[in-house]
């Protein structure tokens, strides 16, 4: 597979597939692994990094699920191309900052991406549309069992899999779910819910990951501890909690319909109007309106078929995708103009909102 093929083919989650997809956009699981004898990437010389890469490359490519995937050295990608991979959640922001001696292997369906020489030698990630943490983990387990036979991981009976940062020790597993919670946000309950999640040891991150703002009512919820819990416990706790939040979000949406139907209709219609007619639109504002369009779709203001468009718009408005479409560097105002232009064009294929209640 070539880079351009990957860009032109959307992954399942971008098509709006998956169970509970009105609230859960994606489920992701990642495992951190290191080769026993090699220094961690952050402490390696360039030559050592190349050696690690050379050890991993053939083993990763031999995994049956990765057949015909995209093997990409980061040194061969432009800044914009890397940004596009970040926006599609195929590499991390940390990984995008690297170049020579670092690589990524992505399978054809874009459900698996294996980062080489990120913070650890291996970051194996599986991504599924909707709420499917178990399936994502099973996919990883298959790949890991395959690698297990070939490679000797840095491992300790007491500390589990050894990772560059002690926050990833043990299972090396981070399971995370991207949730869209506009109902709870509009009902002013989001802070309460987030506090509850923090109290039971879960981490909440913004749309762009650690330390980022909560934009577009999108929240990434993940396990904090990786050591002292089994993989099953991590997945079960997160799945159960997320299912509860899904129920709360749906309840909040129903409450809005019952108690504040005009407010809700106004919010959704206003966002539709602005996306349809604005000439300049910055990223933050766009994300806000897209969240309401998505909510409108879930509540029946727009046809069900607009789900895919919601996800496409969410991706296409981001800096990397914008610049890839335009094929040149842009200043901020040019970006805001191009973004508004793309949004106007895309939203015109969604009919005007109709209040379903």
């Amino acid at each position: 597979m070539r880079f351009s093929t990957l860009i032109n083919n959307p992954a399942d989650w971008m098509m709006g597939k998956g169970e509970e997809n009105d609230v859960v956009i994606t489920s992701r699981v990642r495992l951190a692994r290191n080769i026993e004898s090699d220094p961690f990437p952050g402490w390696q010389t360039a030559a050592q990094r190349e050696l690690t890469l050379n050890k991993l490359e053939p083993e990763l490519k031999a995994i049956p699920e990765m057949e015909a995937g995209l093997w990409q050295n980061l040194g061969d990608l432009s800044k914009v191309q890397k940004q596009v991979l970040v926006e599609r959640h195929l590499i991390s922001r940390e990984h995008a900052a690297k170049s020579k001696g670092c690589a990524v292997l992505i399978n054809k369906k874009q459900t698996l991406s294996f980062m080489v020489n990120e913070e650890d030698h291996m970051r194996l990630q599986a991504m599924q549309a909707g709420l499917h943490l178990r399936e994502a983990y099973d996919q990883l387990l298959m790949a890991e069992k395959f690698l297990d036979k070939k490679l000797q991981w840095a491992y300790d009976d007491k500390l589990g899999f050894l990772t560059a940062c002690p926050s990833n020790l043990g299972t090396g597993m981070r399971a995370s779910v991207m949730m869209h919670l506009p109902g709870l946000a509009l009902c002013d309950q989001i802070k309460q819910v987030m506090q509850g999640l923090t109290d039971i040891g879960l981490a909440i991150r913004g749309f762009y990951g650690e330390g980022t703002e909560f934009l577009a009512n999108l929240f990434q919820i993940s396990n904090q501890a990786t050591l002292g819990l089994s993989e099953e416990q991590i997945i079960d706790t997160l799945s159960k909690t997320v299912a509860e939040v899904v129920t709360q979000e749906r309840y909040a949406r129903q409450r809005l319909i019952k108690e504040r139907p005009d407010f809700l209709t106004d919010q959704i219609s206003r966002s539709y109007g602005l996306l349809k007619h604005a000439y300049l639109m910055e990223s933050k504002e766009t994300l806000h309106h897209l969240s309401l369009i998505r909510l409108g779709r879930d509540l029946g203001f727009f046809p069900k078929s607009s789900a895919q468009l919601c996800n496409t718009m969410l991706l296409d408005m981001q800096p990397g995708h914008l610049q890839l479409h335009e094929k040149h560097q842009m200043d901020i105002e040019q970006r805001d103009m191009t973004r508004a232009c793309i949004m106007r064009r895309m939203i015109s294929s969604i009919p005007a909102p109709e209040r379903p209640f």
């Binding site: 290191n34 043990g170 050591l227 002292g228 089994s230």
Partner: protein
């Protein structure tokens, strides 16, 4: 002056840890075990791994136990041998 503690495998030092908050290699966890303990307990649920084990590691453990078992039998330490056998069967079960 005492010489600064260094990882013999990768030459990583404690000063570096404070600086970059990452370790140098897997062996560093043994070298700096005492210094790392509070951080690990603070970050994690408990400082004992209960998750999946790598298959290679299980294999090396089985190899080790098999050697011990042979030794015990040769020394006619049957009680000890029974214990090792039990450990071995537990290991093979978990794969």
């Amino acid at each position: 002056m005492m010489e600064e503690k260094k990882c013999p495998q990768c030459h990583f030092t404690l000063a570096k840890l404070q600086d970059i908050r990452r370790l140098g290699c897997g062996y560093c966890f043994k070298v700096f075990a005492d210094e790392l303990a509070p951080a690990i307990t603070g970050l994690q649920k408990q400082a004992l791994h209960v998750g999946r084990k790598p298959q290679m590691s299980i294999k090396s453990q089985t190899d080790q136990l098999t050697i011990q078992l042979k030794k015990a039998i040769a020394q006619e330490a049957y009680e000890e041998a029974a214990k090792i056998k039990q450990k071995l069967s537990l290991l093979t079960e978990s794969t």
